[in-house]
């Protein structure tokens, strides 16, 4: 019955040979950055572990995470959905609607209490009593809380669920709120990105199912295996950065030679993601290779940190007006202080001259001529 079958049984049942199965295991090991010694372990896990039900909910979102998920090439999305997990509820893909769909939700929550994974795409808005996102006539927040209650773990897909993303950009009119701020009693894995890379999404799921544990997370709750380095750290254009060779403006000589996009605002140096290593769409390319700087879509609040094309951030977050950067503020302040100093020096000189002529010298403001 549901949930009692193992990966291996399911894969065999679906016509996958033992050989292909082992090959799949070694590919999984490679994708997770594990050595060949882990292949038997993965194979063993898949042969003996039951399939875990996944309930995939959607809040305020754009569905780009689901779209990215179905782009997964290794493993193929169809194999994930048909063989590896039991995607029992995902309103973007599921056949049923209404009562029949809701019955699945209830059934899985009862039958697999504490053993299902809740995947969240999008986030709940809190303004207007949550009615900026209505599901079944009620706020999405209600559904989220209900399903989270008995979940084993929560996966926050994408920047919406992890950080708030575009609807939470200033002034966040709906008060869209990331999942971890409303679900505080469950382990949460954040998989940020707008959207996350397909193979990162399936990689996180496969890791959890294979090793039956949470992936190791960094301080911000992201899996270290994909989010521990900046895009800049492994960028193929990094030598041009170190050499001081930059694209100065789009379609210039540097752009055609593949120079570093730092000066046209690339956020690769401050963005943690696997774009420069895993790359996108089966390793085809990634934004920097296609000539546009990284916009930092896996970073918290990336919408409010200045233009995609500016190196230095806008400072309205720290109380300065729009269109000010640290350098503008600094240069402005330096000019002001410099001016004040010059003025002060002038007045000082004047005062000193007055003093000398006025009441002679009593040594009060003298240098060595006191004698």
């Amino acid at each position: 019955m549901a949930g009692l079958e193992t990966f291996y049984e399911v894969m065999r049942r679906q016509g996958i040979t033992r050989r292909s199965f082992l090959k799949y295991c070694s590919l999984t090991a490679a994708a997770l950055g594990l050595g060949p010694e882990f292949v038997p372990q993965i194979a063993h896990a898949m042969e003996t572990k039951p399939r875990t039900p996944v309930l995939w909910l959607h809040g305020l979102e754009c569905t780009c995470c689901s779209e990215s998920f179905i782009r997964s090439a290794h493993p193929l999305a169809k194999d994930v959905v048909l063989s590896m997990i039991s995607l029992d509820y995902d309103d973007t893909l599921m056949a049923s609607a209404g009562h029949q769909a809701e019955a699945i939700l209830q059934e899985v929550m009862e039958k697999y209490k504490g053993n299902y994974i809740l995947a969240v795409e999008g986030n709940p808005p809190l303004n207007e009593d949550g009615m900026y996102c209505i599901i079944g006539g009620k706020p999405f927040l209600d559904q989220l809380r209900m399903v989270a209650k008995d979940a084993k773990a929560v996966i926050s897909w994408g920047s919406c669920a992890s950080h708030g993303c575009v609807q939470a950009a200033r002034p966040n009119p709906t008060r869209a709120t990331p999942v971890h701020e409303v679900i505080t009693d469950k382990p949460i894995i954040k998989v940020p990105g707008c959207p996350p890379i397909a193979e990162v999404m399936t990689g996180v799921i496969t890791y959890m199912l294979t090793f039956d544990r949470m992936p190791e997370l960094d301080r911000q709750g992201r899996p270290k295996m994909f989010y521990s380095q900046r895009i800049h750290d492994k960028c193929y254009r990094r030598p041009h950065f170190d050499a001081g060779q930059f694209v100065e403006s789009f379609d210039d000589e540097g752009a055609r030679k593949g120079y570093c996009l730092y000066k046209v605002g690339c956020k690769g140096p401050t963005t943690y993601n696997a774009c420069s290593t895993v790359r996108w769409n089966e390793g085809t390319s990634f934004p920097i290779q296609a000539g546009h700087g990284c916009i930092g879509c896996s970073e918290d609040g990336f919408w409010d940190k200045g233009s995609w094309y500016a190196r230095l951030t806008d400072l309205h977050g720290v109380g300065f007006g729009i269109e000010s950067t640290a350098d503008r503020v600094g240069l402005g302040a330096a000019a002001a202080v410099g001016g004040a100093v010059a003025l002060h020096a002038a007045v000082s000189a004047l005062k000193r001259a007055q003093h000398k002529h006025g009441n002679g010298s009593n040594g009060s403001s003298h240098t060595g001529d006191a004698a």
Binding site: D218, R219, Q220, K224, S228, Q229, R230, D233, H240, D242, A243, G244, Q245, F246, E248, G254, Y262, K263, K267, P269, T270, T271, E299, D300, G301, F302, K305, R311, L312, T313, L315, G317, V318, T325, A326, D327, V329, G330, L331, A333, A334, V337, G338, V341, H344, A345, V347, S348, K351, R352, H355, G363, S364, S365, H366, T367, G368, D369, A370, A371
Partner: protein
């Protein structure tokens, strides 16, 4: 530049030399204020800050592109290397300076102390501010920093250095990677300030704040040297504070 006429040393001293906190502040007196390690730190720090500010500025606003193969150049690499090296010198120097605050003379502690609860301190600061606004005809005499200078020094160099070291090493930890000691000690700063880009911004604002302090600091030092009642600039070279009059305060 010396601020005292050597001839004055040969004139007869007053019967009772004026003192502040038990230290003589008359024309013939010379108080040893800044011990050698403090002076050495001051100038090392000045050099480190100069390198850090210049290279830091260029990291945010790089120089124009160089043509040719990437392997022929290492401009950004060198700039960043200088920045990191100067950063280490700055940080190590600061740690040493903290150590010296404990083992050095009491002037060595001024940088780290803001006598917030001292009424006299705030009165002194107020008077000093009045002097700077040309509202006092005659400034007070001080052996160490005047209260206003102490205030600026405490915030810009005391707190400012800590801020720059913490944010700087937090940024450095991004390259050093998870598990590095920089990450263990300072990595928490990144999410606290809202992400890597924000830390960069704060670090750059910190640079500008210190540069503003330096403008004021250099100006005030020279001006005080001319207009106050004690030596300033030479003191940071020789360590000795001299005075221009014999009045007690």
């Amino acid at each position: 530049m010396t601020s005292i006429d050597p001839a004055s040393l040969h004139t007869a001293p007053p019967a009772l030399p004026a003192t502040i906190d038990g230290e003589p502040v008359g024309r013939v007196s010379a108080v040893y204020v800044y011990e050698a390690p403090v002076r050495l730190w001051h100038w090392t720090n000045a050099a480190a800050i100069s390198v850090l500010a210049l290279t830091g500025y260029l990291i945010g606003q790089p120089l124009p592109t160089l043509s040719g193969e990437a392997s022929q150049h290492y401009v950004m690499g060198t700039i960043r290397f200088l920045h990191f090296s100067a950063g280490y010198i700055f940080a190590v120097g600061f740690l040493f300076r903290i150590y010296w605050a404990f083992v050095g003379n009491h002037h060595a502690r001024q940088l780290f102390i803001l006598p917030f609860w001292s009424r006299a301190y705030w009165r002194g600061l107020f008077e000093e501010a009045r002097w700077y606004f040309f509202l006092e005809a005659k400034p007070k005499k001080y052996v160490g920093h005047n209260p206003l200078a102490q205030f600026a020094m405490f915030w810009a160099i005391g707190v400012g250095s800590v801020f720059m070291i913490v944010t700087g090493f937090a940024l450095y930890s991004e390259g050093a990677g998870p598990g590095s000691w920089q990450d263990h000690l300072f990595g928490w700063v990144i999410p606290l300030l809202g992400g890597s880009l924000d830390v960069h911004t704060w670090h750059r604002l910190g640079m500008w704040a210190i540069l503003l302090f330096i403008i004021v600091h250099v100006y005030a030092a020279i001006r005080e040297d001319i207009m106050s009642r004690q030596s300033i600039v030479s003191t940071m070279v020789s360590g000795v504070r001299t005075f221009k009059d014999d009045d007690p305060d």
